[in-house]
């Protein structure tokens, strides 16, 4: 029979043993408050896509795959271009064969499973191309779900994946509302666009921005008021994808349409 005295004694002893475990804790409140310091960073990368200028040549996809060593023939890519065709009888077609790695060289829409739909010129109500890439969200859902801290947001806003730390659980791939994540066929870890982090941190543009002959893609620092991208985002009409998710995407689009998802 345990007495009250014994019970209290033992509770205090166990609590005492458990106390030093706090030294191993992962959450440090001081560090939590230190995130305020992040507000002082001078760089926050953002991207601007002008869909009116995009012609669907796919040079961006080709350059991205080479630059970032994504196996060229594997059907995965960090950036891709979508084609949207709306017909006069109210139907919507969208495709991105091989992520538009080789551009769009046919009027036939790839419906998947080897089926194609040709749309006659007279039946086209509107049609355009939309390049897609990682939105480097301010509130990245892919980062929240990572159980091991392998994906994270760098102080300049870019979401990166630590290949040595990733366990390949795939939660982040499911969590991304934009579908930009995939498994790297060689490294077997989660893979995504990182705004060519090795280039932008050296003062270069991303490979896709450089490769685009039409100026449809631009990258800039949204914290610099004199940056051309910042000026356009602040003064012109731009949209983001799936704003209803609250992810605060940092890829802005000129000429976005409601059909684009």
């Amino acid at each position: 029979m345990i007495t009250r005295r014994d019970f209290l004694k033992k509770t205090v002893t166990i609590a005492g043993v458990a106390m030093p475990l706090a030294a191993f804790e992962i959450i440090d409140p001081e560090k939590l408050f230190a995130q305020v310091a992040a507000e002082k960073t001078k760089v926050r990368w953002a991207f601007l896509v002008d869909t009116y200028k995009c012609v669907g040549c796919g040079f961006c996809v080709k350059a991205c795959k080479n630059e970032n060593e994504i196996p060229y023939d594997a059907n995965v890519t960090r950036t891709w271009v979508e084609r949207y065709v709306l017909t006069k009888d109210g139907r919507l077609f969208a495709d991105t064969p091989k992520g538009a790695r080789d551009g769009f060289t046919t009027t036939k829409i790839d419906l998947g499973l080897g089926k194609f739909q040709d749309i006659k010129k007279d039946n086209i109500e509107k049609a355009y191309f939309v390049p897609k890439l990682c939105n480097q969200c301010e509130n990245p859902p892919c980062v929240q779900v990572c159980p091991v801290g392998a994906t994270y947001q760098a102080p300049d806003g870019v979401v990166l994946v630590d290949r040595t730390w990733c366990i390949g659980c795939g939660y982040c791939i499911m969590a991304c509302p934009y579908g930009v994540r995939f498994f790297h066929p060689v490294h077997h870890t989660a893979e995504k666009c990182n705004f060519c982090y090795h280039r932008i941190t050296k003062g270069m543009k991303t490979a896709c921005v450089d490769a685009c002959p039409f100026g449809a893609r631009k990258i800039g620092n949204i914290k610099d008021p004199n940056d051309p991208v910042t000026k356009i985002v602040r003064t012109e009409r731009v949209g983001v994808l799936k704003s209803e998710f609250g992810t605060k995407p940092q890829v802005f689009y000129i000429g976005l349409d409601e059909e684009v998802r």
Binding site: K31, G58, G103, T105, K126, P140, V143, T164, D210
Partner: protein, 157 residues
């Protein structure tokens, strides 16, 4: 209290101590909560440097200009002025040391990326002149007749 209550308790405590001890050795020193806080900034800081070290492959037109100044000058006067050398010639990487020679993409597919006519309003594509690849000299490379550095019809070979 009876001994049989304590024995499993000690085992559990022992396991916890072992796990925590192993954790201090296994987890890198720079792993922890950083600027963006616990939710978005829990990571190994050294990984940022790892990503910065990735090799740049596409060097851009200005890199090519230093040696190939004549080609640069001619393409800059043409409608192809905004097309990067490396879009067709492939990434320079450390050219001319490595690779010494670049593999040029002369395929018809390469030209058709822009010059296959797609009648899409509200896209610049509909304003680019195109050809029907099945009717326009289907068996030969475009560069047999057209000079991609001087694409105007005056530059025909």
């Amino acid at each position: 209290m009876k001994n049989h209550v304590f024995r499993p308790l000690f085992v559990v405590i022992g396991i916890i101590v072992l796990v925590l001890a192993a954790r201090t050795f296994y987890v890198p020193k720079d792993f922890g909560v950083h600027e963006r806080g616990y939710m978005y900034g829990w990571y190994r800081q050294g990984n940022i440097e790892d990503w910065k070290k990735v090799q740049v492959k596409y060097q851009g037109m200005e890199y090519c200009k230093d040696c190939h100044d004549k080609k640069y000058a001619s393409i800059k006067k043409s409608p192809h002025q905004n097309i990067q050398c490396e879009n067709c010639h492939g990434p320079a990487i450390d050219h001319p040391s490595e690779p010494p020679k670049l593999a040029i993409d002369r395929s018809r597919q390469q030209c058709l990326r822009c010059h296959y006519p797609l009648p899409y309003p509200s896209s610049g594509r509909s304003k680019i002149r195109g050809i029907d690849p099945e009717k326009h000299n289907p068996d030969i490379e475009c560069s047999m007749c057209h000079d991609p550095h001087r694409p105007n019809l005056g530059g025909m070979r």
